[in-house]
Symmetry: C2
Subunit: 351 residues, 2 copies
């Protein structure tokens, strides 16, 4: 493997000093980029793009050509594991992901097999390996997975949901069954992320998109406990380095202390949290990643720069900050505004 | 007016001792009740029901006939003010509220008039007065309004939204224009709530359904500041009593300390907050209202009772707790489960 030329992101994750605050954007390889839309139209539908190693590699690298980013993130979907479990993931234009065979009954859950990444999800690890080669050490590569609870919500609902009626009914009415499902998912995620690490991922992030829909007690029992299990089961060192883990629970600002206790290296913050207050709560125990509202990118350059300055100032001096959006960049954003954002982070944070 | 027979709710709002924890449910007069659906089908569409004084009174009282509730809440919609401003509120079956004439431009906002409740919203104050008479002092009556920010999101988007793209673009790109809109709305809400109080509402609640979509700084500037203005502008005493104000920002758990500083009497909590931790943060400064996940009502009676016990225990001993759901009860709930919930609160909290 090529030597890493930009280790700003890894240093910040280790709470070590950096020359300027590193930045990447959730969903940085995405529909807001015309070059992404061109590649995507070549591939056909979204999952075909994910499953095509060359094209997945190509779109992963696209934002690095345009912007001065400090990390690349594997282009894939959070729902590859349930897809590999046989649920039949598909996307309808203009709608979220859906499953042809949602999981509803005890029998459905008992029949699910823990995923064997080597045989079921080789297209992902192939993409990781190719991206690592093609990066030539420019920046570190992030691998990722959905959290067990987040995967379970899609599997049970069969699609995204506003109130998670079916998933929560199972959680409250058949908690043992929910735990059985989450346990299979946690084992699958461990295998999946370890395979990504073995293939070359240098950092991994767990996306808990829907943990914030749970009550305090239910979050701890049904989402965080399984992320804890994953953190404990991951490969800790690879290629002579630590492999940091980032936990991101959207709407999880109440639970930062508990999240930090899992042994993860960093917490992703959505934009509702004041990052300075978050830092005061978790101290130097973990790094913090975030957290500008992606909606700010719809406004003008002056306002984008003002928001960047406010967040940098709120975090304060010292190490352990990775700049990011508080959620994925949306398709309607002008790519020039993303550049203003990224450049402002580097310029304003230069030590 | 008849003398108040059950003042448990008012006592808890004043952090005074009560014989048992008072309870009401957000959206307690609603579609989960067959008697509501019958009255609604008589009225025609949803707004016709809101505007029919007798029928609005009838549905307000329905849940009190079934359940041992400690408060009634005016049956109405949070969007009556923008409707009175001429935006043309309507509801399509199975969808949320929509406006025929959304507010998009500077000219749109300049043309909006502050609502004069006496002339524009007499149907609401008529309903309040009739409900008070028909209650015969059984329990106190809650009046309510949407918060300025929440009203503004619907007015700008023209409907409910996942990411508030237009509203946030205005907030970040034309903050002065957004402030102009919010100011007109705050003045309208003050007039509207004061008219409800004058007509007989004994408590008022401000529903800030979408404040939780904002960043920390934007929440303080664009939502809380206007709720503060409303709290300051409300009639403080009526009929020889204090008129308490409850602020409810869904997803606002980060900001409880700031909310308590407005001078309100109670904070509504959604279910993501641990109520014991919330109490530790705001002390005895305000009462706390909440906060069971409405999804728990889909499960079995034993589980509902267990959740009630957990929340009561988390709040702990002493006064200042009003039990409620963390959000409105949903149409799919079995009315028998609501009874289990309400009765459990009273039984488990009996001093």
């Amino acid at each position: 493997m090529s030597e890493l030329k930009n280790d700003r992101f890894l240093k910040a994750l280790a709470r070590q000093p950096v020359d300027r605050t590193p930045i990447w954007m959730m969903r940085q390889a995405g529909r807001y980029l015309p070059e992404y839309r061109a590649t995507r139209s070549q591939a056909g539908d979204f999952m075909s793009l994910c499953k095509n190693t060359e094209l997945a590699c190509e779109v992963t690298l696209q934002p690095l050509e345009r912007y001065d980013l400090d990390a690349a993130i594997l282009f894939s979907d959070i729902l590859t594991i349930p897809d590999a479990m046989g649920l039949g993931l598909y996307f309808e234009e203009g709608e979220g992901p859906k499953f042809r065979k949602p999981v509803r009954t005890e029998a459905d859950i008992e029949q699910l097999n823990v995923v064997d990444t080597a045989s079921d999800l080789a297209y992902v690890t192939d993409a990781v390996a190719m991206i690592r080669r093609e990066l030539h050490g420019r920046v570190p590569l992030i691998g990722f997975s959905g959290s067990p609870w987040t995967l379970a919500t899609y599997m049970i609902e069969g699609q995204s949901s506003r109130d998670f009626a079916r998933a929560k009914t199972m959680l409250y009415t058949q908690p043992e069954l929910m735990h059985q499902l989450l346990d299979k998912l946690a084992l699958s995620v461990i295998d999946y992320l370890n395979a990504q690490i073995s293939a070359g991922a240098q950092v991994v992030q767990i996306f808990d998109t829907w943990g914030g829909a749970l009550s305090h007690a239910a979050y701890l029992e049904f989402s965080l406990a399984y992320m804890q299990k994953i953190v404990s089961g991951l490969i800790k060192h690879a290629e002579g380095r630590d492999v940091p883990v980032i936990l991101f629970t959207k709407g999880g600002g109440h639970w930062l202390e508990a999240m930090a206790e899992t042994g993860c290296d960093a917490l992703g913050l959505d934009w509702t949290v004041d990052i300075g207050a978050a830092r005061a709560r978790v101290g130097n125990q973990v790094a913090l990643q975030g957290n500008m509202d992606p909606a700010v990118l719809r406004s003008d350059p002056a306002r984008i720069e003002a928001e960047v300055a406010t967040i940098l100032q709120s975090f304060g001096t010292g190490s352990g900050h990775i700049f990011n959006l508080g959620h994925g960049i949306t398709p309607d954003i002008d790519p020039a505004h993303a550049k203003v954002f990224i450049d402002a982070v580097h310029r304003f944070s230069a030590r």
